[in-house]
Amino acid sequence: MLLNKRAERLFVWIFFPLALLMPMFLEQNEYYVNKLTTIMILSIFVMSLDYLVGKCGLITLGHAMFYGLGGYIFVMIAPEYEAVNFWIYTFYICAISATVAFVIGFLVLRTNGIYMIMITLAFAQMTFYYFSDSIDFGGTDGVFVYVKPETSIFGLSLFDLDNPTHFYYLCLLSLFNTLLFFKVLIRSRFGRLVDAIHANPGRTVALGYNIFIYRLVSYVVASALGAYAGYLFTLQYGFVNPSMLSWTTSGTALVMSILGGMGSIYGAILGTLVYEGLHYSLEHLTEHWLLFMGGLIILMVMVFKKGIAGFLEDLLEKRDGK
């Protein structure tokens, strides 16, 4: 069984059908459809981070670098006034960001623990300042995307990216595929080894495995998916700017992934939903929403250690135990 926890099955069976029907209820309200689309995109980003931090134990504070790169690579390689093919460019962006991740991962993974946190941050800041200062990429204003890609495969066009509802479904599909991909990956032989490395690197080395390769592959895969999320974000809003690369983006994603339940993968969706939901409602209540958000994060670290996914699992296990 791919989904081996009750809480996980429950969540997937409730969330995806609901998400599938959601635009029908929100047909009149484009704002909420857009909001939900952004949550889907962020969930993909947070999920890739969750895999890296929670599953592989590689704590990075520079994941936003790839989120931003996804957008910047697109505006770099795509012609400005011509619709390109979405799927082909997805491939390009993932391939280029994977190459970047390969080089950076090669350097970053030489370190560990606190040093890795900081050097990932340093690389992210490096790209952040590069794009903030560059005249070619519009400095802090970023770059606009004037023409959205078309999505035909063999002449069959399923999605019209200018239509918010279509875009919503594209992101939902992407999220579902990302979840499926990670679940399959974790259950595979590769995933078992990643678990083993996380639990005890020394012993895994003693068993004759080259743990560096496994970590590097994980880093590359997660980074490419992070870039894909950034690409979707850029297409949704029609621009890319350096704030996507900023360290607060990485920090917030970490908070979402912890809130959802570190290492649970599906918790990334929960965490993003709850964080964005709280953000949205607090922002409307008070202009000092940051105070409550900060307080909430502190409280979470203190008492709610395993996140929402951990809480749900405990709840359901307990019921089983009776």
Binding site: Y115, F123, Q125, M126, L254
Partner: protein, 287 residues
């Protein structure tokens, strides 16, 4: 670059580096002794600057503002350590990162609540507002030299305290073996509170002395925090000596980069750091 410009940039670089040391030393001290990575360390820099502004507005005396701001920072450090940081000693770095990100949010929100989001400025204190002529043509402000001297004095005092006093002995002992210090009957949690409060105070004091030479804006804490990370990583986490050397290096690299390669200036220190880490993955003076 002619020699006058070179000298001015050299002094600027050293002065900036020394200021960075003041902040980074607290960060590295707290990490070295307690094993805590405090991301909210930069926020205390911001708090220091805002407190200085507030008290200068109220009293008009910079010296008095500096002292009272330092005392308030010490108190904040004490309270934060006793209520929050204390829970984290046995937890992993991830929890520390999260908790201190939460603290950054709270500090930023409080700053907006108390002082608003407009940029503020503090006047250079009257006694130090003069300029001295440098190489005939260029005038160099006395206050900047005061900042540099002040930082050197603080560095000297820190060196003395850590290498010569009983408190310093405990700090060094706590760095190398927590359990053993506890076995010797020393209340390590009290030591931790002291170290954390002092670390936080150093950052806030840096904010106070930096207030007249920089504009006081929201987000200044995060900016300086990241720069201090670079300093501490170059020097080696937990090493005060490393923080000193690293701070001077970063100060000089940053200042000269903005003159020599302006298009890469804000990236230069990160490139420098990546380069150092390639040669020495644990920093220059890792313990």
């Amino acid at each position: 670059m002619d020699s006058t410009l070179f000298i001015v940039q050299l002094i600027n670089g050293l002065q900036y580096g020394l200021l960075l040391f003041l902040i980074a030393s607290g960060l590295t001290l707290v990490f070295g002794v307690m094993g805590i990575l405090n991301l909210a360390h930069g926020s205390m820099f911001m708090v220091g600057a805002y407190l200085a502004w507030y008290f200068v507005q109220q009293t008009g005396s910079f010296a008095f503002s500096a002292v009272i701001s330092a005392v308030i920072a010490l108190l904040i450090g004490f309270i934060v350590e006793r209520t929050l940081i204390r829970q984290l000693y046995r937890r992993n770095h991830l929890d520390q990162v999260l908790l201190t990100i939460g603290m950054i949010f709270v500090f930023n929100a409080l700053q907006g609540l108390l002082w608003g989001n407009d940029p503020l400025g503090v006047d250079v204190p009257q006694a130090l507002s003069a300029s001295i002529p440098l190489a005939g043509i260029i005038e160099y402000p006395v206050y900047r030299i005061f900042v540099a001297v002040f930082c050197v004095v603080v560095a000297g005092v820190m060196y003395y305290v850590i290498s010569k006093t009983r408190l310093g002995m405990l700090i060094r002992a706590g760095e190398s073996n927590r359990e053993m210090v506890e076995c010797l009957g020393i209340d390590i949690s009290r030591l931790y509170t002291i170290v954390f409060a002092i670390g936080v105070m150093l950052s806030a004091v840096a904010g106070v002395v930096a207030a007249p030479i920089s504009s006081i804006v929201p987000g200044m804490g995060e900016h300086i925090l990241i720069t201090c990370f670079v300093v501490v990583v170059i020097g080696g986490m937990g090493s005060i000596k490393g923080a000193f050397i690293g701070a001077l290096m970063v100060g000089l690299v940053d200042t000269f980069a903005s003159v020599l390669v302006p298009e890469l200036s804000s990236m230069m220190i990160y490139i420098f750091m990546a380069f150092i880490l390639l040669l020495k993955p644990q920093g220059l003076f890792s313990s």
